[in-house]
Symmetry: D2
Subunit: 145 residues, 4 copies
């Protein structure tokens, strides 16, 4: 592997990672920002992603939090990482044109990073409403664990 490959992925690299996750393709997630300490994931809302009351299913928000946190951590740690855990607080029902999950690194060492994420429901006229907030960690995959 070249030194470049071992470094921090670019947005193009990170989009390839997202495209190589079949579940992210099923969800229809797209990575719209990916830079030092920050990642933004968007999920257009379509009927298949809803729950019985017509709002985005909590599991879709949980997917968004999990993956946005992990991509944000990846900007600090590279892409050979696993998410170790997260906390997600739901604030209000999410509906609209899309979900936007904005994640940022709070603290990163060489092997671990703590990130936070806010999930917004965005309407057709681009109004954002905060729907959930998460905090979670990722660490470099450790061959000798």
């Amino acid at each position: 592997m070249s030194e470049e490959a071992a470094g921090i992925p670019t947005l193009a690299d990170a989009r390839k990672v997202l495209a190589s996750q079949p579940f992210s393709v099923l969800i229809g997630a797209r990575l719209v920002e990916y830079e030092s300490g920050r990642a933004v994931l968007e999920i257009p809302l379509r009927p298949e992603l809803l729950q019985q009351f017509g709002f985005a299913h909590g599991g879709v928000l949980a997917y968004a939090a999990d993956n946005a946190l992990t991509f944000a951590a990846g900007t600090a740690l590279g892409s050979s990482i696993v998410t170790t855990g997260m906390t997600l607080d739901y604030l209000r029902p999410a509906s609209g044109a899309l979900l936007r999950a904005v994640a940022a690194v709070v603290s990163a060492g060489r092997r671990q990073a703590l990130c936070r994420c806010k999930i917004y429901a965005v309407t057709d006229d681009a109004t954002e409403k905060l729907c959930a907030a998460a905090q979670g960690s990722a660490r470099v995959i450790d061959s000798n664990r």
Copy 2:
């Protein structure tokens, strides 16, 4: 509404709720147990639910935790509830024939319940391996909030 409808749903009722969640249908989740204080959700693993390394995507486990916790809470609170939040710790990569999320009520009042969940990866020969553990809350939807 009849008194029966206002009470705790039966397994058949709960399965109708699950079937009315388009995202749960997309995931392919099925409810295999639903009784006082306990709910078990299973998700057959298929390629669409995986991440780039061939394991179940963390977002699928997060969906499983979210929904199993909520159904367990529903056995105590009825079905007009929302999940308020959860914490999910990932323990090891999940692969096999299916995911089994076993959730139980830890404490329930009239309006709120705290639940815990363990998520197992189950192989074709029915071996279970613990892959994640969650703790989360739900509360009755409050018309005057």
Copy 3:
């Protein structure tokens, strides 16, 4: 109770609340900021607050997170509130002259608020090092629960 008393406490009011918590007096916590959406708590580190390796005990950081989150929520909800839960991630051992817990409201409704907190270890020369990060909720005490 006057209408004023039912509103959002001032810094002086909030300091009276802190002084009326015997455990906060035992810890030696002081409230240094208290304004709309934000509260800052400081705890001078003394030998009684340490663990066996000479760092601040995790329980002291947990106290700081719990109380700073609750005071921040109080700026939005008033002082008749209870903390419903929190998540705390420890980032590095804390030592120095004092702990500073900076908490802010992420989202507040009429009856609930979600807050986040960062805990810094502050040295004698005022250098801050981030040691822990928390997310937690509080809600108004509900007489008819």
Copy 4:
């Protein structure tokens, strides 16, 4: 260090660790059980540990959760560990003669362990009431992080 010292501490060893934590001495915590996968910590309630309404301060419950989780993890990992994080859900106000924090290992590898804890308020006539529930992780201190 002898091989014995590197192994899993006995109850007597673990009590020495607790006694070497000045903050645990200030709190007045005692370790009443310590065996494979399980630790029980008790804290006699005295006026200094309360909040303004006469209940145990949330920070005391948070200390109890943090330390009970860590001691339970120690039964699997040995005593050179740090707590990496925890989630704590408060269920009801705690009052009575003492707090009892019962923690158990959910999953342990060679270097990490996930534990859960329930905190009970115990009255003079030995009635237990569940007041809080926690989930948290610890890992072996890693010299090359």
